[in-house]
Symmetry: C2
Subunit: 404 residues, 2 copies
């Protein structure tokens, strides 16, 4: 067991999730058990807050408050889109050294893991003992090594419930309904649209993922086929779909606004949905509607997977155990066992940093317009219980006036 | 008590809600208690199903199935956008007469009430005894006479939870966030965006309603003021906002597609949000995002107000009691009593038919960019319990390197 005495620091980076606060609480719960951790600081607005020493003393937070914050979506410590370069990481490290921070926990995606990796290297080079553990989080579910990412299950549940409801609506007043789901280059969240399907004719009937080229003529033919069969069609499409040259379908419509990570803005606009709806209208189908789930899927209050919630807290606790009890650096990862249980392990920061992963080919159907049973088997346990959904089962009454 | 023997017919019209199936179940529960009601038919796809005799025999439905359907959003009997004229109503009436239907229940908005009114007149003229009761339903909450409409509370809850979450997200990564809410000419649903506010700086900070002209320069000035104060801004805007000539702000963007009721298509497109976001970007604010809640707000699986659910069932039961026990025609209305209780009464069909209502002036602030405490007092009881939402309360740590 480590006897490295000093402060612990926790922060959150990137897009918030419904359960990211659980992970922070997990770190706090475990760290409070160790007397060598004298204070636990929380950085406000992620790495930017670390650089600027915008710290809150979480050791002073009541259990009631932290339990309530843990149950609240979005980032209680606030977040940032800053992606630190080496200089920025240097400032982070100096801030840690000045405050005698010896345990560094950063909750985020692959960019956050990379920040952890660089800060860890700088501490090693300076001969400053600093335990650095990355706590995984992303609704995109695109981190390497781990079976899945905390945050994904709750966002996937939102998407599943949204499509289950939209399908019922589309069934009640038929037409073509297209909804655009977040996920820049991994289709896991869009694929989750199928998880609320119950009856054979339930939508989404078509699912388009960023892992496969989006070919307009195939899309038109797919919609036509479903519409001819059911008299209606529900389509799930990833915001990140690209053409066969790899160009985002949306890019022509948003002026190509880029964030600090050099990524084109995909979310926060209805342009892609409207574009696809216009294509379907041009087929001569009159009632065509498109929605873009936008920020609701990661921030909606009151839609959380209980499994995701529990795991998010557990990765935070494990992060603190690995750092404080086991004196180790790394990224916490989840291993799936049986059907369905998990265990946690530590993987080197370099294995998670920077590069994201995509959906395995076995999760995508041969026609590139849907997902496979393998995906459903993988994702269904992650979203927990779904609300009641049932069709009416009643016999038809023979006609009197309009006899067939 | 009536001894009018025959069948009962129930149907649903217009946009589905989260609780419309509760109302159908309410009718069924009460009607089954009366032996003079020999069968209860449900028309598939509303008035179109009545005209075409597409009836299901609901008397054969199990209680388990109906309880589950009642808990399911959208219209279990399916719906229609058809707005019957006098000829169409004639076909409805003939269909009822052919099947010896003596109790007619139609769940919908003011158009559906008008259908009820016409069918009722035609039955009277023909000397055919037919009890006609309109069961109120609309997420827009724009029916006359009744204090509020079943369906509104659940949609309002979705909007409140969506904005509560979006506000947390906007707080974590600041910028301007604009979300477009349904409601063609009544602002009740957009106004519900404030019902999840808890802390003084919580958004939405600005709310634009269809009852007041949307003046671009005022909007720009409003956003500037909020952004300067908080460094961020959350805006709720109705899809139905109009300029000072009464022209929908969105109308230039959708090609003016109209439904059977002659209404311009407002929902199912992200155009209005994108337009407003572009205006804000032109102010020099970089991070601007817009979402359009679209069909989620009326169909999302798993977001329902328990109050709304109970009242929706009750109006169905009351409709059947008024028709069968009291031999009366009309529209069921809700009276608010105390804080908060309700009673139900029957109002003549003509008082609800055709014309919709708007938000009272006392619910809208003087600046036309927000709602009043009167609105909150009116609407808050209708959405029931909200999920946990709490900010972190922790003291700041003094800076060492960056001393102020």
């Amino acid at each position: 067991m480590s006897r490295l005495e000093g402060k612990a620091l926790v922060a959150q980076g990137g897009g918030p999730t419904a359960v990211i606060n659980q992970s922070i609480f997990g770190v706090l719960l475990e760290a409070r058990k160790h007397s060598e951790v004298t204070h636990i600081y929380g950085a406000v607005h992620g790495v930017r807050g670390i650089k600027n020493e915008d710290f809150l003393d979480l050791t002073e937070v009541t259990t009631q408050n932290f339990e309530a914050v843990a149950a609240t979506p979005s980032a209680g410590l606030l977040s940032t889109r800053d992606k630190p370069d080496v200089e920025y990481c240097k400032a982070i490290f100096e801030s840690c050294r000045a405050h005698n921070i010896r345990y560094f926990f950063y909750c985020g995606g692959n960019d956050s893991a990379d920040t952890c990796r660089i800060v860890n290297e700088q501490a090693n080079e300076a001969g400053y003992e600093l335990r650095v553990v990355h706590v995984p989080k992303t609704i995109d579910n695109d981190l390497k090594v781990t079976d899945h990412c905390p945050g994904y299950g709750s966002a996937a549940k939102f998407v599943a419930q949204a499509f289950a409801g939209a399908n019922l609506d589309n069934r009640a007043i038929p037409g073509v309904y297209i909804a655009v789901v977040m996920g820049r280059s991994a289709g896991f969240l869009t694929a989750a649209s199928v998880l609320g399907k119950k009856y054979p004719d339930d939508g989404p009937h078509l699912v388009y993922l960023p892992e496969r080229a989006f070919i307009k003529k195939n899309f038109i033919a797919d919609v036509r086929k479903v519409y001819d069969k059911y008299g209606r069609c529900v389509v799930a499409v990833s915001e990140g779909i690209v053409d066969d040259n790899g160009t985002p379908i949306i890019s022509a419509f948003t002026g190509g606004e880029k964030d600090a990570h050099g990524n084109v803005q995909l979310s926060g606009t209805g342009a892609l949905g409207d574009l696809l709806a216009a294509e379907v209208k041009a087929m001569g189908i009159k009632r065509v509607r498109s929605d873009t789930f936008g920020y609701l899927q990661r921030s909606f209050l009151g839609c959380v997977s209980e499994i995701d919630q529990a795991e998010a807290r557990a990765v935070g606790e494990k992060a603190a155990k690995f750092a404080i009890r086991h004196n180790s650096d790394g990224s916490v990862a989840i291993k799936r066992e049986g059907n369905y249980a998990v265990s946690y392990f530590l993987t080197p920061l370099s294995t998670v940093a920077r590069h994201a992963t995509e959906m395995p080919a076995s999760f995508i159907n041969a026609e590139s317009n849907g997902v496979t049973e393998d995906f459903v088997k993988y994702a269904r346990p992650l979203i927990g219980e779904l609300p009641t959904l049932e069709h009416l089962h009643a016999p038809k009454v023979p006609k009197i006036l309009n006899k067939d």
